[in-house]
Symmetry: C2
Subunit: 305 residues, 2 copies
């Protein structure tokens, strides 16, 4: 099945305790597309870049057979640029610079050839733009949405309007508590699901993730990464691995959603091993499935006899 | 196999967002003994209480066939009393009152009949006293120790001396980071294991627990408790369920340690459902094993085909 990916395409400046890069390919749509391309038969990207966007980055996306028909090139300005510095513990970061550039005027136009996509990934952009994407597509089977505290606090009404229309919302634990106004995560999940999405994933960083569906909760472990090199893009890689797997298998059972959560975790665990999307360029099938098996053995609870 | 339990026996005053009790049975040795008694054939308690200790509390412990030969009754004063108030999110609490009373002079004397215990639970008391227990026993198979940030900061040398002698250390995530002086939890675990214990459990509260052994890491999920009534004793119940299971099965394989971690999690999840040890008085075998199975399904990752 084909997957429609909408989000930012950007350049990032990143400083971590392990090093520094001034400018590297980034953005939610980039990470989601790269990671989902390992599974989904067809990844259709929608985004905008500026006149400075490098040919080699176009070539990288094309080498993964990502369809760029929906990538707008706006020659009136430069590509969205963000830079930040991670703290010693890598759990927090300070934004040093944000230049929206052409992204400020981003208007997601869905090409005709994308409109029948069955799976849709709405990367973290303004909720009203996410809603606009959904107004243009025909009859998707499964819509997944990311968001952040900035929109929860800043545009709560637009956010709740869009949330109503999605099948799965992916947020982190502090966002879930803020959106539901409830400190208990399990109660918060119930409140958020009552807002619309039948499924909810709460990402907990180094503590793994929780998947809430109609009748069950799935607790996914975090991969025990000793050397997190750069956390940038981990959340988007999670979303890409997950949606790529769902589009590939075309199976929306609770059972297969669990597999999708682990495939997302697998891709996120690779993402943090190098700066930017470096590690996501040339993964092998064996590396991916081996890590999936590592996740299984990490959390396997033996039966009691 | 018999289990030796050393720790505090106390009265607690507890206030949570759901209610308040002025005085209820508590203490690490109490919770560890009650929970381990569901599994271990013989639980031998060592602790001290004062002249105010109630007959009904003696009767409760006896009803669980807990051996009280090592429970000193010191008529020169009252039983250790602690009171605290939990915050709205239940993750933090303020201590309102601490009266050490007879516990201030606690000198753990191990009765002759206890000295051949194969499994030993050192509840959270002064590290030098924990060491003193180990000096008195003959040839234990498996020694498990709890501690807290108070001892990590206050008596680090005595703590490290005792840690050297134990097989399994049980601490929470912030304590592991503090003890190892390392923010990455996986690295911190390596550093702590280099201090002596071949196995380490890091408790992460609402995020479950991690078990580190020689060749593997096990990630245990947390039970999704909607209504945590009172967290008091959860950590000790974890230790009791775990050690009770090990003493019952007499199997120290990595495989069975995983089961023990889940049995600990099971008992902790029951503990928080009522004030104090209320829920731990009359659990049925069916309730315990049903919850074990809930933990299994909570974290089960399907194979990929």
């Amino acid at each position: 099945m084909s997957l429609l990916v909408v989000g930012s395409v950007a350049y990032d400046g990143i400083e971590t305790p392990f090093g520094k890069v001034d400018r590297i390919l980034g953005g939610s749509a980039t990470y989601i597309s790269l990671t989902s391309s390992y599974f989904a038969k067809q990844v259709n990207l929608v985004g905008v870049v500026g006149r400075d966007f490098a040919d080699e980055d176009i070539e990288l996306l094309k080498s993964k057979e990502i369809n760029l028909e929906g990538l707008q090139i706006d020659n009136s300005g430069d590509t969205f640029f963000w830079s930040g510095k991670y703290h010693y513990d890598l759990n927090n970061r300070d934004t040093l610079d944000t230049q929206l550039n052409v992204f400020e005027r981003f208007d997601p136009v869905i090409p005709e050839s994308y409109k029948d996509a069955k799976f849709i990934a709405l990367g973290n952009i303004e909720p009203s733009l996410q809603g606009k994407v959904l107004d243009q597509v025909n009859d998707p089977d499964f819509v997944v949405m990311d968001t952040m505290n900035f929109w929860i606090a800043g545009t709560p009404d637009a956010l709740k309007e869009t949330i109503k229309k999605v099948d799965l919302l992916v947020i982190n634990d502090s966002e879930a508590r803020e959106l539901a106004d409830e400190p208990n995560l399990i109660k918060a999940a119930e409140i958020v699901r009552d807002m619309g999405p039948s499924s909810l994933i709460i990402k907990k960083g180094e503590h793994g993730a929780l998947l809430f569906t109609d009748n069950e909760i799935f607790s996914a472990p975090a991969y025990p990464v000793i050397d997190i090199f750069d956390p940038t893009g981990a959340g988007d890689s999670f979303m890409g691995g997950m949606l790529g797997w769902l589009a590939y298998t075309d199976d929306l059972s609770a059972h297969n959603l669990r597999r999708a959560v682990i495939m997302g975790s697998v891709m996120a665990s690779f993402c943090v091993e190098e700066f930017g999307p470096g590690r996501l360029k040339n993964l092998t099938e064996k590396e991916i499935y081996d890590r999936y098996r590592e996740f299984r053995s990490l959390s396997e609870i033996p039966e009691v006899v």
